[in-house]
Amino acid sequence: MIKQLLFLLRISRSGFIARRYFVVNGFDGALTLLGLNVGFYVSGESSLSVIISACLGAAVALGVSGVSSAYISEAAEREKELHELEGAMVRDMTDTAHGQASRFAPWLIAVVNGLAPFLIGMVIILPLWLAQWRVALPLAPIEMALLTALMVLFLLGIIIGRIRGTFWLWSGLRTLLIALLTAALIYLLNPT
């Protein structure tokens, strides 16, 4: 079963695509949650339940959006590829490994695309939850959430660096710089 799934992953090249989607949408999720938290920090919002609800709402929406958008686009793309292959092979490919892969790949990619921002969102929200559960934190809860978001973005940068085969620290610092620029932009544009 697992062997067959790995085989389908390989012939449909879904592994590479899922990895790309994970990084791209994970980055979106982390930056969105960072932006939300910077917004709350700048506005002086201190209600933890409000911040958690807003962040949770954003993470869920990003997750659902990730699943649906990736499924719709990937299913269409895979169907097109299968039709092209059917044209080249002059036969129906529905019952072949290619047919199975074209049905399986969109689901896998959609789940990865949806789970990436959702799970990353949960990691960023974690310090806020811990504070709500009265767990002692070294910094204010929102500052801890901001720090976690920056750390997650740095880690995503490292993953991008490893995929590209470039120096991990440089790649991590680059995504960290993007995160800091985003935070600065939100700070500057905030009317309060």
Partner: protein
């Protein structure tokens, strides 16, 4: 009924899975030669050898991997009587 010992097949298959996957999926002694490569497909000459080749099972494997059997180019079969004669007699 005769047993098929060797067959040579002309198969058109998608580029993926590759010929290594095709060879591994067939549980026989296999020799694959790529004759022609296209954008999405390739034509391969598949030589299968074994004590008793299950031809429908071979067809199923080719079909499952997205291939099309174009022709059966060579067959080597051994009849049961001939098989019995070739086996060493016990004294």
């Amino acid at each position: 009924m005769a047993k098929i010992r060797r067959i040579v097949l002309d198969v058109l298959k998608p580029r993926q899975p590759n010929i290594l996957d095709l060879a591994k999926a067939l549980d026989y002694q296999v020799q694959v030669r790529v004759d022609e490569v296209d954008d999405k497909t390739e034509s391969v000459m598949l030589e299968i050898a074994g004590d008793s080749i299950d031809f429908p099972a071979v067809q199923t494997v080719i079909n499952d991997l997205g291939g099309s059997l174009h022709s059966v180019d060579e067959v080597e079969a051994v009849g049961v009587e001939e098989l019995a004669q070739s086996e060493p007699q016990q004294v």
